[in-house]
Symmetry: C2
Subunit: 210 residues, 2 copies
């Protein structure tokens, strides 16, 4: 009732509690499979309160989604735009920070990619993702390395696909991989930790091979 005039005065902890619960449930089940009642229960509040704070499931989802993508892009953009690091160091940083991030929140990659597929325009138009990556120091350095013959594969998009794919795919496919390889949670995590060291080595070898 007092929302529109005084949004800034509302207890932030309740609003944050709902958002936190929404993040958890949305990330785990995706938009379509999520019930607003699940979020309310997870947050320990009544269903009506959720709509009081966020008007609708769709609006709450959009807020969570934009924050989630933002975290992802930010982590990438920061590493890729450091003037002080070399190309190889950038790869190492991206690999390490993403593997640590995703190990803490394993649902993140498949959540993001599924929901982006369902609604690419809504979610990607709003973020300056293209500029943040294609205009980065990283891509300038990549281009220089190609010019100097240090890298034989000239497409930066191929580079990006390989880097992100090698990082994220195992997490996306983890239920299947655990089954195939008969891996416990800890076995799987050990493999992911090993990949922090391996992926930079692999990437370097790949980019000189084609």
């Amino acid at each position: 009732m007092a929302k529109s005039k005084t949004a800034e005065k509302l207890d932030a902890s309740t609003e944050e509690k709902i958002k936190e619960a929404a993040r958890t449930v949305f990330h785990k089940k995706g938009f379509a499979a999520t019930r607003t009642r699940d979020i309310a229960e997870e947050a320990g509040i009544n269903l009506a309160l959720l709509n009081y704070y966020f008007r609708s499931k769709a609006r709450l989802f959009e807020i969570i989604m934009l924050e989630t993508i933002s975290v992802f892009v930010q982590a990438m953009a920061l590493a890729l735009n450091d003037e002080k690091t070399t190309l190889g160091e950038k790869v190492e940083r991206v690999v390490t920070s993403y593997i640590d991030l995703i190990e803490k929140e394993p649902d993140l990659p498949i959540f993001m990619l599924s929901e982006i597929r369902n609604n690419p325009d809504l979610l990607l138009v709003k973020l300056p993702i293209k500029q943040a990556i294609m205009g980065s120091v990283f891509f300038r350095q990549h281009h220089e390395a190609v010019t100097q013959g240090k890298i034989t594969e000239p497409s930066p998009i191929q580079f990006l696909m390989n880097l992100i794919g090698l990082i994220m795919f195992p997490f996306i496919a983890s239920p299947m991989l655990k089954r195939i390889g008969d891996l416990k949670e800890e076995d799987f995590n050990r493999l992911m930790q090993e990949r922090k060291r391996l992926i930079p080595v692999w990437i370097e070898a790949m980019m000189k091979a084609s």
Copy 2:
């Protein structure tokens, strides 16, 4: 009404038409976001008929899902169990056949991986996926190559993650990649076709690098 006694006599084309429509809609939207009415409309039949043939949305889904996973595993298992091909040739075949398959049905990977995540037990227990891959000729050859020092990375699971990830990830992330790289559908497809040649080269370089 006459279903249970004479299932084998039902017109296969109608049943198949419904399954075909279900495949299309489920693959595109996933289980939770799919409405049985969407499937009926796609198939050009009435909603009740869908339940007459398949009893429920869940049962229809399970049939589609098992077939879909089966296609995937089969394609992999066939290539990996050929006694006549070398390790490198197997990689080439897997890469080529999967890229062609997925280019025809781009929703396949993310559909499979999302739904497996939602219900790993139901879907993976029923298929002898572990045995089909871990007991394959491919893995014997991989082990031999490691023993002979031709491959320095000893874990076949890391090998598998890299191979499948390099193939499937770009399709999973395609909406985002198209946006980042400013790629039209045809640009993207061209990159995927290039990867038929590139991935085997990359894989070889990687496996000798670590």
